[in-house]
């Protein structure tokens, strides 16, 4: 996993609530057995005018010019500004894989669905919760100012606006540590292998029926 320390990037606004993971990456693309290559199909049903299929040459497909990520001013964006309950629905990790593959490193929204939120941290994508009021202000600022950029400083837990004003955000200490260092969870957990074995012994005595071969 790539480290996340600081991201200075162009902001793209996705002004709708309850964006679900079926929208982020439609089901036909889940048939891949890889972790990469989902970016061209991020928001497929909104981005293109035809129905996408795996293995297509996406550069030849008709684009929906209205869709925000197709607008010239948002090309190269690495911070996504979204509305409440972003990432609801299916647990597919293909959603953060697609966002990352497209180039997004941070997502700012008033709230996230739990599973999606969790999945982001496993992939070096930082989901940031801000208040509804702050989200509203940011939407207004992005729409009013072409080329609007933000800096996300994870160590300081701040979103820094172009005028230097900062918005503080919260993050779990463990998740912050993993992101800052690009750490693989499994290796960390296996450092506690003895504790896991000890726990298993106790459970095997209390609930032997759980432990089938």
């Amino acid at each position: 996993m790539d480290k996340f320390i600081r991201e200075d990037g162009l902001v793209a606004p996705l002004d709708r609530a309850n964006v679900d993971t079926d929208q982020i990456i439609p089901k036909q693309f889940l048939k891949s057995i890889k972790r990469s290559g989902f970016g061209p199909n991020l928001f497929d049903e909104w981005r293109y005018l035809d129905e996408g299929q795996p293995g297509q040459d996406n550069s030849k497909r008709p684009l929906n010019k209205e869709f925000v990520l197709n607008q010239p001013r948002y090309q190269g964006a690495s911070i996504l500004l979204a509305r409440r309950n972003f990432g609801c629905g299916s647990s597919r990790e293909h959603a953060p894989w697609a966002l990352l593959d497209f180039g997004f490193r941070a997502i700012i929204a008033p709230s996230f669905a739990d599973i999606f939120f969790n999945n982001c941290f496993k992939n070096g994508v930082l989901p940031i919760v801000v208040s509804e009021e702050v989200a509203d202000e940011l939407f207004k600022a992005v729409q009013a100012n072409e080329g609007y950029r933000l800096t996300v400083d994870l160590a300081e837990q701040k979103i820094i606006r172009p005028d230097g004003a900062a918005i503080d955000f919260e993050i779990d200490a463990f998740r912050k540590h993993c992101l800052l260092n690009g750490l693989d969870d499994i290796g960390l957990t296996l450092q506690d292998a003895d504790a896991i074995r000890e726990y298993e012994k106790g459970r095997q005595q209390r609930e032997p029926w759980v432990f089938i071969d």
Binding site: A17, D20, K31, N85, D172, T189
Partner: protein
């Protein structure tokens, strides 16, 4: 100190509390399917790791499989689906994981198969790379969906890194009216608290209306806790739970059974246990439900008219409604019963168990699919559900009504296999999500109970099941 059911499940699985607030939680069961596991197995291989406790895993095929008869993976026409199915077969064989594959009568939708096999019993922690893992919480388990990185993590360590969620209680008191099912209860709950209502919470369903439900009904409710924002839904243990688990193939037997039952009886929230959020619902207020929009919270009683966006004060919600109207091709103020349906889908991890099929068959019996309805799919949740339904003659009732009787799988709930809606088609569906494109690009989903779906198939539009003459099987 008085504890909730969730508190007890959490405490019983806590391996280590870390100083930074996170914890290691032991996972008793992992259920595996073909879509969210290939990258996890690949990760194990790359790191040269083996499953920590191979017997804790149960695999089956569901998302991609065709619902027309076939004998082995090579007969799956869609190449990408075929590769994914074969990849699971290869991976389970290579790592020695138990799999109920093609041609095995136990094959079926993960969340139908696991309780049916007794692979999941009360008191367990259960995960699967599928958000509807919450279904298994009906057996008083801590069960929730995880992403593929966590699938790999559980395979390698038998643990998850987690943080304790908040406790939410949804209490439904009273008697459910005629024609009102578990599906209507959970759709009503989502309508009340919204799709983000349960975010950050483990949700316990309680009250006399929940206790009166069968295990199948409780599974329907826990299944959709994720649509109410809660990763995990659960119901406390009672006689109905224990009767359901008894004699299932992987359930404890003999002296183990007696010890298990004694422990399972403690899996209830203590009197006076503290919940962070409590929602009280009066069962008598619940009518048969139909979703009209593109989020499960856009749901109404069948006798309602569609909402007027201008009357919504929340700007974000209002624009969501306007977008939903545009996508669904419906008009504000119209009656729900005036919405015509093109296809009907009876199935999914929400409603494909035997009780669901019986409820649909009661309505279908002696009636015919409306000519205007292009297709009615009935897809049992597993090979065993199919067998049981056929033993009861339900398949003949469906076929005589002009419905199609299919092989088990996820089917048109998410349209990863050939069962799909065409653009613009309206579908009465017993599944769980009415998201844009969920059942096929441009398809328009209306979430309903099995009886309501069958009634819509017969009438060609939504009808109030309470007004239909009731029959017996």
């Amino acid at each position: 100190m008085a504890r909730t059911l969730y508190d007890k499940l959490w405490d019983a699985h806590l391996v280590k509390q870390r100083d930074d607030g996170s914890a290691l939680i032991y996972i008793d069961r992992q259920i595996i399917h073909e879509v969210t596991s290939p990258q996890a197995f690949e990760g194990l291989r790359l790191a040269n790791r083996q499953p920590w406790r191979v017997g804790s895993n149960f695999a089956t095929l569901d998302h991609n499989v065709p619902t027309t008869p076939f004998k082995n993976a090579s007969e799956i026409e869609d190449e990408t689906s075929r590769i994914q199915v074969q990849t699971l077969e290869d991976n389970t064989r290579a790592f020695g994981i138990r799999e109920f594959g093609i041609g095995d009568v136990r094959q079926g939708i993960v969340h139908v198969m696991a309780p049916e096999q007794g692979a999941v019993v009360p008191g367990m922690t259960v995960v699967c790379g599928d958000s509807h893992t919450s279904t298994n919480g009906a057996l008083a388990c801590l069960a929730h969906g995880i992403g593929t990185s966590e699938v790999e993590h559980v395979l390698a360590t038998q643990c998850l890194v987690a943080k304790k969620m908040k406790n939410m209680l949804i209490r439904v008191e009273g008697e459910l009216g005629a024609g009102v099912t578990a599906k209507d209860v959970v759709l009503h709950i989502i309508g009340v608290i919204g799709t983000a209502g349960g975010n950050g919470h483990a949700m316990e369903f309680a009250g006399s209306a929940i206790r009166s439900l069968s295990m199948e009904g409780r599974m329907t409710i826990c299944n959709m806790s994720i649509e109410a924002g809660a990763r995990a839904g659960m119901v406390a243990v009672d006689d109905i739970t224990i009767d359901y688990v008894k004699d299932r193939p992987f359930a404890p037997k003999g002296a183990d059974w007696d010890a298990a039952v004694e422990y399972w009886r403690t899996l209830v929230s203590d009197a006076g246990a503290k919940f962070d959020t409590v929602v009280e619902i009066n069962a008598a207020d619940i009518k048969p439900q139909v979703s009209w929009g593109t989020s499960p919270e856009m749901v109404l009683p069948v006798d309602a008219t569609l909402p007027i966006p201008e009357q919504e004060n929340d700007a974000v919600k209002r624009s969501g409604m306007e977008r939903a109207y545009q996508y669904m091709g419906l008009t504000p103020g119209m009656k729900i019963t005036d919405i015509k349906v093109d296809r009907v889908f009876i199935g999914s991890c929400t409603n494909s168990r035997i009780e669901d099929l019986r409820a649909a068959a009661v309505v279908a019996k002696g009636r015919k699919k409306a000519d205007s309805v292009k297709q009615v799919l009935v897809v049992p949740g597993s090979g065993l559900v199919k067998q049981q339904a056929e033993a009861e003659g339900l398949d003949r009732i469906f076929v005589e009504a002009g419905f199609e009787w299919r092989e088990p799988g996820c089917s048109m709930c998410l349209a990863m296999n050939p069962d799909k809606l065409m653009p613009g088609e309206h579908c009465a569906s017993t599944s769980n999500r009415n998201f844009e494109g969920r059942q096929g690009n441009g398809g328009r989903t209306h979430l309903v109970s099995p009886a309501m779906a069958a009634a819509a198939a017969v009438a060609g539009h939504f009808v109030d099941i309470r007004e239909l003459e009731s029959r017996e099987l």
